[in-house]
Amino acid sequence: MSPSRLARARGVRGRQRTLAVAFALALISAAGSAAAADPEATPPGTTPPPSAPKYPTQATAAAPAGEGFSFGSYGRVSTASDLRGGSGREANITAFGSRLDLPTYAEIQLERRDRWPNKGGVGSVSTNVVFTMAFAGPLFHETGVFDAKTAVRNLYADTKGIFHKGFSAWIGSRMYRGDDVYLLNFWPLDNLNMVGGGVKLALDTTSEEATTLALAVGLGRAQDPFSFQTIPSSSPSGFGATQVTFLDRPRLVTSLKAQHLTFLKQGKEGEGAKPGFKVALYGEQHSMGRGVRLNESNLREELPSERGTMIGGQLGFFTGERDVFVNLFLRYATGLAAYGDKTVPSALNLDKSTSGAHETQLALSANYEKGPLGVLVGGYFRAFKDASGNAYSRNTFNEGSLVVRPQVWLGDHFGLALEGNYQSLATAAVRDDGSRERASLWRFGVVPFLSPAGRGSFTRPHFQLIYLYTSRDAGARLRYAPDDKFARRQNEHYLGFTVEWWFNSSYR
């Protein structure tokens, strides 16, 4: 069955089957978020059911289809108290921790879909233009300040069906993502923010056991002295100065992903759940050219060229029933790639290069649901060694976080979730008193919620009342500035409301 047929089936089948089909569709299309909406998937004007699962990925993004305009969104709005007369505040010490106290963030996504005759070919050719605007606070109603941080997160177009039914191509600026660890708000494998283009090929569009290949190339240039520098220069007119770009060395990122989906049980639609595996291999190559900048002495300073490689893989298992799955991710990155695509490299070696840095990352994401019960699990471990060559560097560290969220639905629209989270961080440095730089904390949350769209870990919107307790050890407290309340308080409370929604969104 082709993905399009599978997707088309969603609109007419029962709820459970819809979930399974969307699940499979998403698996097939998840070469990052390169999977563009399939214009054949859903009749024009059809809005995917709000219960459409977000796992494995992009199911909702893939689901809305047809011609014309569509609107999508991801969003969360939070407000909380610390029960001490102050505001509730994010308290994670690792890069990724509980998402219960994440601050307000929202995206609106506008899409235009068209379908064209495939002259000389088979079927039709489709195009899709995506524009996603992101908003990251502050809320005017919170601060009274008529201002907000905004960013363009997607601005690209793709086309599908030229040359081959499974061929697609895109150009533009976009989030380029694979599966996430929802509980940690974390994309552990492919998670690029690039301006460039890419192609994808589904090798066999008629089989459920599909293999896809995706290639993407993009450029990015951070506004920092590692990549970019402007200096004043004498104006050609002979009067005054003009600003000129002196250093300009964008980072070129090439990514390649191969993914295969296999089912343990063959069968036709409606013949029950079909469990299966997803295997993905993923790699990135990062590079920057040599550069010259002016240093603090106004002397020319050579910056060597940069290289970095990331390889990784994903192994997933799904039951095909509801959103039950488990995903294991592993990535290993060296040099420039160890710093992430938008991170300004720091702790360089004596050649002012990232050579010598490496990162290993393991992540786990799982969901199990049965009857009124469910449990979500998310965790990761990250080992990073900087390029400095200093065995005792503060920038060399291991960190990890594990979140478990059991939940029970009391009826179809109300539920209670409990969340436990442990975070730990250890650097290679020691503090001035001789103690090792280690920090950890425990977090425990109680989350009664309303789920208008029904049961399911990934049904949205969710209206949550959140109580979150945090207990920091002494090391965790020392992660904060001395005058920060978090540096003095071992225990933290967070009581607040959060609403979270998504539909037709490429956020997840």
Partner: protein
């Protein structure tokens, strides 16, 4: 694809996971204990950490190498990575600049030198973290190199201002006001950061006249770390009680006894003078610096601005530090200090020499193990080696020291009397470099020879020699900050003549016990500085009871070769009759002489030296 085909993939992932951790618990294997036999064996090498080597770019905060008074990026890892260089030079002890957290910057000058303490319990992150420091010490100890830390107990950085006009802000000038006895002109220009000395404390005044003690306002500017100490143990230094509050020293010899301003005034630059007589302050200084001994396995302290702190402090504090060190298995922890003064009785007093009001010597007490020999710096290296003065001044210096410095080793100290533990130096970070001094004194043409000659004396006289980094690279900077050059600009050259000279001298010194621990006796000095046959000659013997022997002859005269003989007088030596002595300073060997009639006659070329050892010596 089925389960079996997925299994290898899963196993590969598992294998990668198993090997994925980075080592975040590297142990510097610090074994706190004694690493010293006899401090007289040591050759100290003074390192200004910020200027020696940059081994880790990650701590390069506020680095600006274009400005001589800003951070340049050197760090402890940089020094640790250059221990081969240190060892090739032959020095055996590192004196590293202060490690504690500083006020970052003041008046356009940064705290790269480390003397502007903000919190004595915390480290200056510009130089690394504690592991980096521990690793430096561990790697040094592995090579038998000791590490001495520079510390300051007299003052802190510029942590507060005197709100003299009580307007709640630091003013650089206060203008106007009625004419008073204090303010006869009606207009006074002062800086509230660093006002002139005033006892018992700096007073405030407003347009209505005097207004009592000026309030002390601690500055809170975390961006430059200009904040009160934050470590709870240092709380007293975050209060006015911890300071003398008398403003800056304007007269080092002020009446009644010439010491009041020195003792109680702020060190010029607004460095706040702490109330070291307060037991709570003493406790902070004891705990803070005692802790660094333990945490970093240090072998000694070089103590800054000793003469600005009362003797009682040194008696109490030194004992406390020695007790702490002893408890850590360090019975020979070195405490030597800087009394930047040419007056030898003042310098010697900090070795525990006491005199009554009439100048009569009282029993010595225990203070510091040793002191920099500033009188020697002035009288010997400046006046004789550079200035061409009579070498009798050198012998006079020894006589003077013998009368002013304690001959009794402090209890629990290094086991050597202070009079034998004088730390000798040609220059340091507070004075223009030797070559700069030589250039300014008319020795431009032969300044390298003068330097080499002075080095020969420095490394063969008794006491503990100390070499300022960059001397081996012929650095010639003037006064601070010009004398704090970046060593990396030299390329760490080991082949230049001065580096080789120092290395050779250290090799000879290491091989000859007499040159390290032996007694020292002058065999020839002279008042002659002109065309006399012995003009500029200084000669001395070093010898031990078990037979180690050396005879050093130096000609400080630049004009002609000189001889250890004048008229009918020949140089008498204690070496046995008939002993053949050879000059071991040149690696390939130099001239030989034989003890004849109890005398040695040798002619030394202008501005040069010989180190005569029994010709059977093997080096």
């Amino acid at each position: 694809m089925r389960l079996r085909s997925i299994l290898p993939f899963a196993l590969a992932m598992a294998a990668m996971v198993a090997t994925s951790c980075v080592d975040v618990s590297p142990d510097p294997e610090l074994q706190v204990g004694n690493h010293v036999d006899d401090w007289r064996d040591e050759v100290i090498y003074q390192v200004l950490i910020d200027r020696f080597a940059n081994g880790d770019l990650s701590n390069d905060y506020r680095v600006n190498k274009a400005h001589p008074a800003r951070y340049h990026g050197g760090d402890w890892k940089g020094l640790a990575d250059k221990l081969d260089y240190i060892q090739a030079l032959g020095v055996t002890t590192l004196w590293i600049s202060p490690i504690v957290r500083n006020v970052e910057t003041d008046a356009g000058i940064d705290s790269y030198h480390g003397y502007w303490t903000q919190d004595p319990f915390l480290l200056n992150q510009h130089f690394g973290n504690l592991h980096d420091l521990q690793d430096l010490v561990r790697r040094a100890h592995r090579r038998k190199i000791k590490v001495v830390l520079d510390i300051v107990t007299n003052h802190m950085g510029q942590l507060f201002y005197y709100d003299i006009n009580q307007n709640g802000r630091p003013d650089e000038s206060v203008q106007g006001g009625i004419k008073t006895a204090k303010n006869p002109g009606g207009t006074v220009h002062i800086t509230e950061y660093d006002p002139d000395y005033e006892a018992p404390v700096v007073q405030s005044f407003t347009s209505l006249g005097n207004a009592g003690p000026a309030p002390i306002i601690f500055i809170r500017d975390p961006a430059i770390n200009r904040i009160p100490p934050q470590t709870p143990e240092a709380w007293i230094l975050a209060t006015a009680e911890g300071y003398h509050r008398r403003g800056r020293i304007v007269n080092y010899d002020a009446p009644p006894d010439g010491t009041e301003q020195t003792m109680f005034g702020d060190f010029p630059g607004g460095l706040k003078d702490v109330a070291t007589e307060d037991p709570r302050v003493r406790d902070v200084m004891l705990k803070a610096y005692g802790r660094w001994i333990q945490l970093a396995d240090l072998d000694g302290f070089r103590i800054d601005t000793v003469k600005h702190v009362e003797h009682e402090f040194w008696e109490v504090w030194s004992k406390g530090i020695r007790d702490k060190a002893k408890s850590l298995g360090k019975p020979k922890f070195l405490l030597f200090g800087e009394v930047f003064d040419g007056k030898d009785d003042l310098v010697g007093s900090y070795t525990g020499v006491r005199k009554d009001a009439k100048g009569t010597r009282l029993p010595d007490v225990d203070e510091l193990d040793g002191l920099f020999d500033f009188p020697q710096y002035f009288q010997v290296f400046r006046d004789v080696f550079i200035g061409g003065g009579p070498t009798t001044k050198i012998a006079a210096r020894w006589t003077e020291r013998a009368s002013n410095w304690s001959k009794t080793p402090p209890a629990g100290g290094i086991g050597v009397a202070p009079v034998e533990a004088h730390v000798n130096f040609l220059d340091n970070h507070d004075v223009g470099r030797f070559l700069w001094q030589a250039s300014g004194s008319g020795r431009e043409k032969d300044k390298l020879a003068v330097l080499h000659n002075a080095l020969a004396f420095l490394l063969t006289e008794d006491g503990i020699p100390c070499i300022y980094y960059g001397t081996e690279q012929n650095f010639s900077g003037g006064n601070d900050p010009s004398n704090r050059e970046d060593l990396w600009l030299s390329g760490y050259d080991k082949t230049n003549e001065t580096f080789q000279r120092i290395a050779r001298l250290n090799r000879v010194r290491a091989a000859v016990p007499a040159l390290r621990r032996g007694d020292m006796q002058f065999t020839w000095t002279t008042d002659h500085v002109a065309d006399e046959s012995d003009a500029g000659i200084v000669a001395f013997e070093r010898f031990t009871a078990d037979g180690s022997y050396a005879l050093v002859v130096i000609n400080t005269n630049a004009a002609h070769a000189s001889t250890t003989e004048f008229g009918a007088n020949a140089m008498k030596v204690r070496a046995p009759e008939g002993l053949e002595l050879a000059d071991y300073l040149p690696p390939s060997g130099g001239q030989k002489v034989t003890v004849t009639g109890g005398t040695v006659k040798i002619t030394v070329p202008p501005t040069s030296a010989v180190i005569l050892l029994p010709s059977s010596a093997r080096i």
